[in-house]
Structure formats: C-alpha cells, structure tokens
Symmetry: C2
Subunit: 331 residues, 2 copies
C-alpha cells in the first residue's frame, strides 16, 4: 500500500448557497420545514427565490464544506462533484480551488444549471434549506478515476448524493475501489430523509463492514437504527463501525472508536448567527485530526471548534483561520 497523495477525497453535491435572513412568519407562509433540508424542483425553487429577501451567494455543498474546512486546517484534499457550464458552476469551481482543493470534474453542458440551495436563516440562527439539485445529480461514474480514489487515505461520501441514481452507482464503485486499495471509507448520513429513503442501503453497507467512519446526528441515528433513545442507538451501531461519531448540536458530540468512548461539550459561541454547515465543519475538524492519527477526544474537540466558528457568521465556509483557532484552543 503506497502512501496516499491526499488525506481525503470527497464525492458530494456541487452547490452554491443562496442565503438570506428572514423572520419565522415567512417560514410558515412558505410552508417550509424549519431546520430541515428539502429537495425542490425548478418551479418551487423559483417561487421560493421570489419570496426570498436580498441574498448572498456563497459556495456550499455538505462534503465540499467539509473539505474546505480540512484544507484550511492543512489537509490535502480532492473533490469530485458535478457543476454545469454556467456562472454558478464557475463560482463553485473557483471557490473550492481557491482554498487549495484539487477539483477536476468537467462541467456538464446544457441544462440543468448548477445546483443551488436556497437557505432561509431565521433570527435564532437556524437554517432551512431548499435544494435544487440541478447538474449535481448527474455526476457520472466516469467522473471517478480509480487511481484518484486509490490515492486518498480516506474516501468521504455525502448521504445527500445517495439519493440520485447516477452518483449512487458512482459512489458504490468508489467504495469498492477504496477498499480494494486498503483505504478508509467515511460516510455522513446528511439528513434523516435520506435515511428514510435509503436506510436499507446504508444498513447493508454497515453490515458488510464497508463503512469505517460514520457521522450522524441524533435524528439520523434514530432513523438509521430505529431506536429513539440516543444511547441505545449508539450501542446498536458501535460494534459494527470502527469509528462512530454522533453530533448533538448544543449538547456536544460523542465518539466511539474501537470500543473506546469520548465525549466533548459544544464549543461556546458568542452568538448563533447561522447554523448552516455546522455538521460539515464538525466533520472537517474530526477527519483532519483522525487523518493525522490524533486521539479520539482531540479529534472531537477539533470538530467542535470548527463547528463553532461556522455558526458565528452567515455561510458554511470558514471566515477565520481555522488552523490558528485550533492551535489557540488546543495548543
């Protein structure tokens, strides 16, 4: 097994976030499920955009946000995801390359356009996401080069992308290649609705021992295990996944690795401005620590520090120097 060229390669949705603040009344009026993520078609996206206030565009996408955080922490990263050959695609491509991530998936010609996520941020800092997947769901298996997959220590997969058919096949193939090359496979469950639709797939992957590292939040853990009680859910998965990480928002996070358990509180935040990307950045901190062989508790702490940074401002890409932040807090 050769030394990997990348710490991590991620396959995810290539999305530009369109973010606006709003009050709770608008969430009700538009009949949105506050705090969640919904897929929307072009018409609904248009309707929501028309109702949205003045917005800011920031590159997003769950796994891409995680990689951006990892790159900021000094990790070597590559990203695979599908944009269209349009202005939002250029924005996404620029922003991911600008933080030093290798991104070579060719843009897709013609319709649909690059994916966007219309994000309504309420005064409590909660984000309600509405994703028009556009080009993102047409990531072809051909975009995944076996050599590229084999060249990364960790293959990181985003549950959101399990939903559309083409990327799902591409990800299955990538898992095979990674395992054949002795690499680790990390997976983030992304959202309960993904588990509702594809839980059987995920449970099968876990049973087969295909997942080395799994990120879930409380809701996703419950959906995945069918067990409402957090500790029961944890217990039922812990033996089947080498590294299990469960995040609990303000209640912190728990990690169980090879039978050893660690728990960290949430990092204090001055003001919760926008929770978009909190889970993604937690994963960034954790995976960077893990890739470096740091102890479990330190990996969790790195996750908590990165998540806290992202919550303090609008947008899911870090604004402060994450490396310095972690050094200040953990030495």
């Amino acid at each position: 097994m050769t030394e990997p060229r990348y710490d991590v390669i991620a396959i995810g949705n290539a999305i530009v976030d369109v973010m606006a603040t709003c009050d709770d009344e608008l969430i009700d009026e538009l009949d949105l499920a506050k705090g969640g993520m919904q897929l929307v078609d072009a018409d609904r996206a248009r309707e929501l955009y028309d109702a949205m206030g003045r917005a800011t565009e920031v590159s997003g996408g769950s796994a891409a946000n995680t990689l951006a955080g990892m790159a900021a922490l000094g990790a070597q990263c590559a990203f695979v995801g599908q944009v269209a050959d349009d202005q939002l695609g250029e924005i996404f491509s620029h922003d991911i390359r600008a933080v030093g991530i290798d991104f070579d998936t060719a843009p897709r010609d013609g319709d649909p356009p690059t994916a966007r996520c219309l994000i309504f941020v309420t005064p409590d800092g909660e984000r309600t996401m509405n994703t028009f997947l556009g080009a993102s769901q047409f990531l072809p298996a051909a975009a995944l080069d076996d050599e590229l997959i084999a060249s990364a220590g960790i293959l990181y997969l985003e549950g959101y992308l399990w939903d559309p058919e083409e990327p799902r096949s591409a990800m299955r193939r990538a898992i095979e290649v990674a395992r054949q090359n002795g690499r680790k496979v990390a997976f983030t469950a992304s959202e309960s609705f993904v588990i509702d639709r594809h839980g059987d797939d995920f449970r099968a992957l876990i049973e087969e021992g295909q997942i080395d590292i799994l990120f879930v939040n409380e809701h996703e853990l419950a959906s995945l295990t069918g067990l409402a009680a957090f500790e029961e859910g944890l217990a039922s998965l812990a033996g089947r996944i080498p590294v299990l990480v469960a995040t609990r928002s303000a209640k912190g996070a728990v990690g169980i690795a090879e039978g050893v358990r660690a728990e960290v509180p949430a990092e204090p935040v001055d003001q919760v401005v926008d929770t978009t990307g909190a889970g993604d950045l937690f994963a960034a901190g954790f995976l960077t620590g893990h890739a470096r062989g740091e102890p479990l508790e330190r990996c969790l702490r790195m996750g908590a520090i990165c998540a806290a940074e992202i919550i303090g401002h609008i947008g899911a890409r870090s604004q402060k120097d994450l490396k310095q932040l972690v050094a200040e807090k953990l030495g």
Copy 2:
C-alpha cells in the same frame, strides 16, 4: 407639476460584487491600485479571479447600493441599469427587487455577461475594486422611459456610468427630461478617474446649472476643481450647485446648501471591516433625508449613520435595519 410617484430614480451600473479578503502582498503582486477602482477587460478579470481567494457574491453597483439603502429607509425607488440574461443578472435583479425597488430594464441577450466587480478587501478594511463592465455599459437610451424619469422627485446619476458611450447619451437625455418636468438632478462623481476623463462634461453641466445635488469625496473635489486645498475646492463649487456634499472618510462630511454650511463627524465604527459602499450608503442616508425635506445637518447625519453600518461588515448592502438605526441615533 404632479406629486412624484418615486422619491428617486437612479441610473447606474448593474453589478454583482465578487468579494474576498486578502493581504497587502497580493495587492502588490497583482499590481493593483489599493483603495481605487479600475476597469478591467475579460482577460484581466479572469486573471484576477484566478488569483483571488474564496469569494462571496453580493449585488452591488454604486447607485444601486444607494437605492437599496434608501429603500431600507422607507423611500420609494426605481432603478434603471443593464444586466445580461444570465445567472449573475438574475441575482442582481432578484436582490434589487427583493428590497422593494422597481427595476424593469429588460436583460440583454448574448455576450457580454452581467457586470462583476472583483473586490479585494485588505485587513485594514480598505477595498480595491476591479470592474468588468460587461452588459452594464450597453444600457440603451431606449431603456429610459420619459414618463418614468418624470415620475421621480430626484434623478440620481452615477459618474461611473458616464464613461461608456451609450449610457452617457441616455443619462444626458434623462437630465433633460427631469429638468423639463421640474425634478431635481443629483450626481455622484464616483471616482477621480471618471473626472479625469470627463471633467469637462461635468464642469459644463455644473456651469449650465443642470446639477442640483452633487456628491464628491476629497479627491474628486480636487480633480473636479483643480484645487488641491479642500476648502478652496468647496468654495469654488458652492455657489454653482444648490446642494453640495463632500465626504471625507474618517474626517466626516460637509454640506453646503443654498449658502448654508453644515459639518458632521464620521459616525464611530467598532471595526472597519470593509469600506465598500461607504460613499454609496452616505448618499442613501443624505438623499432620503433631503427627499423628506429634513434640515441639512440631519441629512448629513443620516448619511454618516448609513455609511458606518456598511463599513462594519463585508458587502455594500446593509445588514442591519437602517430605519431603526437612524431612529435610535437621531430620534
């Protein structure tokens, strides 16, 4: 003279700002004139974008920023400006309409794309702007409806747009229509280089008594009058323009209206994050007060309060409730 439907109609560049923080070394490396605004062609825009870090996209454009501020303060506004039929054009159009501004200029088909301004923000909060004018410079005279011009109490013109030929003719025509209908003409000099190129035009307009309200900063005042000393420059213009407003960054602002002079200090700012749009928002506060018939000093104070808000965050569109901010500070 009928009661105007709008407080103000503005003609300006329709631009999306592409903003990123950077250090002073990059400004030097890229050979940029720190603090200024430069026009760039497509190749140079590409080169600068490639060198730029992860960015955020926010609608901009000098006069459009001013209108967005005025709308936030409760003024009735209409905007005329040219976008292309592309994603950045949609972003600009959405954002200006989302704050309640009427904007009906039809998007322009084909190349060039919607204008963008690549803005590098250094740690001192100074912004260095590089504008690719794209579709913006093709605003045709036909986009200006005489009735629309006549329906606004103030016609507000952006000096930046005096540079390209088509919009310049359109603006000349608009000035005529406004004056024939007994409306006021307000003008912002925008940038010294515009005055260097078109100073004779501007001086002629002033001599002919076509300008009722003029916004300049210290540099522009010097370029326009040929007098380096601030007070001498002021004195040479004061008698020729009914309302003259000169902004001086941290030194505050001076207004001279019908021979009466008022002066206000700059509003205190916790941290200068990004000065982009400070002049635009000063104009927003001032013009809103002026349209309401407020006394000169209060108009200047409103300008200073709005400028201070914009300096405290990235981007030239307000994030706080400007109306509430002015009410808190001025009652």
